[in-house]
Subunit: 136 residues, 2 copies
DNA sequence: TATAATTCCTCTAGCCACTAGAGCTTCAAG
DNA sequence: CTTGAAGCTCTAGTGGCTAGAGGAATTATA
């Protein structure tokens, strides 16, 4: 049996976050000590590790809810898990693409030789998207 | 003089967002009609366009506050603007790097040949970061 | 065993940058 | 002068936490 603090140390999930996950229904309400403190089992630990790792990989809490549900049903086909992961991958890729467009523009505007604001490329570009090279 | 709706159409900023920016102090409180409706000038329009473009480039509201301040003082050196932009560029780049690490892992785990959850690479990997190839 | 230090509890509120909706008032066209 | 669109304020919700207040329980030390 682990206290919430021990669970936190073992998983790297902060204590208030564990309680938040409980509130969101990602983890079951654990047993309590006589004094009403949370006591976790190994199952609770591995479930939280699953959540932690999924969050680290950028899955939303909603996605994780679905993935956890699936993981409780080993006999089910895994196509649902794949579609969640594939959708997330697409999302990550489109975010990368967007950030790369930003990176390009930001690199460009920070090449400014002016000394003061009046003719600064940064300020001028912000005032006028027409000065940008790409859409973003 | 523009109504808030006209300003919204011209800048692409939604009406509630314009009011939000006013509340945040990014734009001055505009004059009002006799019936208390907001009336904007061309200055208001260009200030909002500046904000819109800066947001599109990913600057935070706090950064924009600083950039707007600078843009009102053309005689100032533009080094402050540059450091805001450079810091933001760094931030964008580190987000790209992080997303690329995620992309790599997600691509890997979605190559799963199993048919059901019991042996699915997606679910197994989420349960155990040790199965990942990289840190992320 | 008494006390002190640490950990835990619940509850509320704050973060960012909006977005939605309720219930009301004003404006502009015909 | 009526009507319908557009505006007003205010509150609350989004996601994923995080911080703090004020108190109770647990653990370690003397
Ligand atoms: Zn400059
Ligand atoms: Zn632009
Ligand atoms: Zn699979
Ligand atoms: Zn991993």
């Amino acid at each position: 049996m682990f206290s919430i603090g021990q669970l936190s140390k073992r998983t790297g999930v902060k204590i208030p976050t564990i309680r938040y996950y409980e509130q969101m229904g990602l983890i079951d309400e654990p047993e309590r000590s006589e004094g009403n403190q949370r006591r976790y089992t190994k199952d609770g630990l591995s479930r939280l590790s699953f959540i932690r790792h999924s969050r680290d990989l950028g899955f939303s809490v909603e996605d994780i809810r679905g993935l956890l549900d699936l993981s409780q049903h080993p006999e089910k086909p895994c196509s649902d898990a794949h579609s969640i992961a594939a959708r997330h991958l697409q999302d990550v890729q489109s975010r990368i693409a967007k950030l790369r467009r930003l990176e390009r523009e930001l690199k460009r505007i920070t090449k400014c030789d002016a000394g003061n604001v009046a003719t600064c490329a940064v300020i001028e570009t912000l005032a006028d998207h027409g000065l940008c090279e790409t859409e973003h």
